[in-house]
């Protein structure tokens, strides 16, 4: 009798554990959506794709810039929205390279871009770089350097340099030491604003936010305080860590997660969207006073790292998980998480994090829009079952009709 009971308990436990660990993803159907992969032309960790309107090289126009250690660019004209049109930007700061003989790196790794501007639509492109030094046999970060692209002459000018402060007992990440840049990235050139977040004080825990403009230049040490922080007045000084900014109602609003609006090149934003942890929030433009207060929220799969606003939906990139799509009404009000109409979930998926999402024209529906995305891999290939070959830029072109490597 006892043996029978033991056997029954064993079988029940087995069945229970099988169904506890059950999961029913559409494995077979998603294989049917796969496409032949293009040869990747833009590899590496990408943290920003920005709109820039202005003089570049010999021409004035609308450009897209991105960084992956280097800087690449392309015209934002529709005929250039095909695979393989990105070009390495000329006149960039010396790129990061490894010197076998000296066993060290030299040059600068560009880790972020931001575009600032004014009400007249004059844009300025900023690039944040990092260089390295060899310290007791190890290669460690040395300085972060802020560059500005001058319109008069297509070259990059160093406007600020700050030694990297690596917190003790910490694995260094590129943004951990509280010096980064970000921007509104608005479709309307007159709504583009860029900011630098710089930590000050002994532990760099107080954040100061400075607007980056055409006139920004902190290369003169007399413009810095004892901590190497610019003396000029700040937009905000706070212990809050903001990572993005949106432009709505003629003003900027900082957010801790990712942010965006439904602004198009010809119409102002009527809704602001932003994330805080695993929550996606929104509010109407008319409801905003001095800060963004959620009028509604949707729980997403994980902390969001990216967001791209289309006319009919918003694509969001959760940490180490497959992208999600939030439907929006014609007014711009979000509805709920809905299914994609493209093969995006076959490509921008776990274990990767979609670090950047960029919709070229927010006035177009997702399926008709040109959309770029950057995948990064958190952890090693073996530990995550990801492939380093997939890390880099991905794109969706309506003419091609599928998501693929750029």
């Amino acid at each position: 009798m006892k043996r029978t009971i033991k056997q029954a308990i064993f079988i029940a436990t087995l069945i229970f554990s099988v169904f506890l660990s059950s999961c029913f993803n559409p494995v077979i159907t998603m294989i049917r959506e796969e496409v032949d992969l293009e040869d990747a032309v833009i590899n590496g960790n990408i943290n920003s794709i920005v709109r820039y309107t202005g003089q570049y090289g010999s021409g004035y126009g609308d450009y897209l810039f991105m960084q992956n250690g280097y800087i690449a660019y392309k015209s934002s004209a529709s005929e250039k929205q095909t695979h393989g049109e990105w070009q390495d930007a000329p006149y960039v700061p010396p790129v990061l390279e490894y010197d076998d003989y000296l066993d060290t790196f030299y040059g600068t790794q560009i880790i972020k871009l931001a575009v600032g501007g004014d009400n007249s639509g004059n844009n300025t492109l900023f690039a944040l770089g990092i260089n390295y030094k060899t310290d007791t046999g190890s290669t460690v970060p040395a300085d972060k350097i802020l560059y500005k692209l001058t319109n008069e002459n297509p070259h990059w000018k160093e406007i600020y340099r700050r030694p990297v402060n690596i917190p003790e007992n910490s694995n260094f990440t590129q943004f951990e030491d509280n010096f980064t840049i970000f921007c509104t990235n608005s479709p309307n050139p007159a709504h583009r604003r860029a900011f630098a977040r710089i930590g000050t004080g002994e532990n760099r825990l107080t954040q100061k936010y400075f607007e980056l403009t055409q006139g920004t230049d902190w290369s003169d040490k007399s413009k810095l305080d004892d901590y190497g922080v610019p003396i000029e007045s700040t937009i905000v000084s706070t212990s809050e860590t903001y990572n993005s900014v949106v432009f709505i109602n003629g003003k900027v609003f900082f957010t801790s997660g990712v942010g965006g609006t439904n602004e198009t090149a010809s119409t102002p934003a009527t809704y602001a969207y932003w994330s805080n942890g695993e929550m996606f929030h929104w509010c109407e433009a008319g409801s905003i006073s001095d800060k963004l207060e959620p009028q509604g929220s949707i729980k997403v799969a994980a902390n969001l790292y990216s967001m791209a606003v289309n006319k009919d939906s918003i694509i969001v990139g959760p940490y180490r998980l497959t992208v999600q799509r939030i439907g929006i009404e014609k007014t711009g009000k979000p509805t709920e998480i809905i299914n994609f109409e493209t093969n995006i979930t076959s490509q921008l998926r776990n274990p990767y994090t979609t670090n950047v999402l960029f919709a070229l024209d927010p006035a177009k529906n997702e399926k008709d829009n040109v959309i770029y995305a950057a995948l990064v891999l958190s952890g090693s290939e073996g530990a995550t079952s990801g492939s380093i070959q997939s890390v880099g830029l991905w794109s969706y072109y309506p003419s091609r009709g599928n998501w693929n490597r750029e």
């Binding site: 796969e34 998480i337 998926r349």
Partner: protein
């Protein structure tokens, strides 16, 4: 006279033979030895190396490979029951890997012709299926096997065979609107196999 002596000699030699036959008692049973390839209680372990062909994926999936190990036990000389575990994979069009781990139980009918055995099986079980970090578990597996084996040694037989496998998947929630509520994979294998009999 000479002819007579020869006939007598032949009869004299032949008579003891008939006399011997006449000495066997009529009640003693006749022992007949019949060799059966398999019998109740016989067991075998099967190992198979397979080419794994997707049937209903057009160009989305390429030919892959599989290995299988199984244990079977004869209930009669014709009929065995047992289980098989298979690990199979296929590369996909998007440079991903589809893999499945089916665990099945089944019954096998094993007719024999001389030293040849022709096992025919029907199996049912569950599988873990995965691709692109998407997972389906537990998935239903239905399969049918056929093969031909040659009993090369008392304990070993070698052969070739094939398995037809059906892997259905049912979806729910948000996936239904996007992907429908049902899809299935069909596969067939070409296998080289060895069996150890004990």
């Amino acid at each position: 006279m000479k002819r007579f002596l020869i006939i007598v000699a032949i009869v004299a030699l032949t008579v003891p033979l008939f006399a011997q036959e006449q000495d066997i008692p009529e009640s003693e049973p006749v022992t007949e030895f019949i060799y059966d390839m398999n019998g109740p209680g016989d067991q075998y372990i099967k190992l198979a190396l397979m080419a794994f062909f997707p049937l209903n994926f057009s160009d989305q999936m390429y030919v892959g490979g599989a290995i299988q190990i199984g244990y079977h036990r004869f209930l009669t000389k014709w009929f065995a029951i047992g289980g098989d575990f298979m690990a199979c994979y296929n590369a996909t069009r998007g440079k991903n890997i589809f893999y499945a781990l089916p665990l099945t139980v089944g019954m096998t009918f094993v007719p024999t012709i001389g030293k040849f055995e022709i096992p025919l099986s029907l199996n049912v079980g569950m599988a873990f299926e995965s691709s692109q970090n998407n997972k389906y578990f537990p998935g239903l597996v239905l399969s049918a096997d056929a093969g031909v084996f040659y009993r090369a040694m008392e304990n070993w037989s070698f052969g070739i065979g094939t398995t037809f496998m059906y892997l259905p998947q049912w979806y729910s929630g948000n996936d239904v609107a996007r992907y429908g509520n049902y899809d299935f994979g069909l596969f067939i294998t070409a296998a080289a196999m060895a069996r150890y009999h004990f």
